[in-house]
């Protein structure tokens, strides 16, 4: 394995560079996946049947809370990558931990929201609108949940092994994933929630 010391550690081998490029291509595919979900949502969001519509169930407070939590966590994972590049292990772990805690609180608010929807009679089977809403939100939420476990394991690996060619590469790729989830949320926030409440 040839290590190129002129590059940051996460880019320092051929394999590492290919891992990062491959992950970007995966993110391109993820954009298409969410594109299909949004297309279905925009097509079906008037099909509320006898169930409640978006403007009846959406609440601004939890949505705004989720947005700010996720924006902040995207900022802290960026800081974690920066701390990794200046070789500060303690700061990297701290920022990573803050990111994961913010991710957990995001999920907490989302679960609260889903329970609220249930009590207002909006479930996966209620209408075309409710099915697509919960599927879109759920796909994003499932990505966040997966990211929490992924991030936790990377946290443990950096704690145990320090910064190596392997761990820096993994945590950089994780940061790409986490930023991507924030990008998807921005579109959910704008074109599902704000558009629905406008």
């Amino acid at each position: 394995m040839k290590i190129d010391h002129s590059q940051p550690l996460e880019y320092s081998t051929q394999q590492n560079q290919m891992n990062i490029l491959g992950f970007w291509i995966f993110l391109g595919a993820e954009i298409m996946l969410f594109g299909t979900l949004f297309a279905s949502y925009f097509t079906l969001n008037n099909g509320v049947g006898s169930g409640p519509s978006g403007s009846e169930v959406f609440e601004i407070t939890p949505v705004l809370l989720e947005t700010i939590i996720l924006l902040t966590s995207s900022f802290t994972i960026g800081l974690a990558t920066h701390a990794m590049r200046i070789n500060n292990k303690k700061a990297t772990l701290a920022f990573l931990a803050i990111t994961l805690l913010l991710g957990l609180s995001f999920l907490g608010v989302e679960v609260y929201e889903f329970i609220n929807y249930y009590h207002e009679g909006l479930t996966l089977q209620t209408s075309a609108f409710s099915a697509m809403l919960l599927l879109t939100l759920g796909t994003h939420g499932a990505h966040v949940t997966f990211g929490l476990f992924w991030g936790l394991f990377i946290f443990l690996q950096i704690k145990k092994q320090g910064f190596t060619v392997g761990t820096t590469n993994k945590s950089f790729i994780f940061s790409l994933y986490w930023h991507f989830l924030d990008v998807v949320w921005i579109f959910i926030f704008s074109f599902i929630y704000l558009k629905g409440m406008m």
């Binding site: 700010i68 930023h179 921005i186 704000l194």
Partner: protein, 94 residues
Amino acid sequence: MRELFPAKQVMGFIFSLVLTAIALSVYFTDMSFQVGMTILLITAFIQAALQLVFFMHAGESQDKNAIYTGIYYGIAIALVTVFGTLLTLIWGYM
């Protein structure tokens, strides 16, 4: 401590909060659907680009061209899917 908060990232974060506040104006003020959608489209796409460039360092490696090609391709397909679906199933065409 200062070195842990690079200006570029802090600026990016503040800018994304400002964009969120602008998007929120759609909810808190009374405006037509067209104006609201225009604001949302602009703020959402600027924010996405901001994340990509400021936080994800999309342009820093030597695979820059391949990375941007993949992302643009993904975005193009997603846009064709969304607007093509709307065109054929909702707006109708003559």
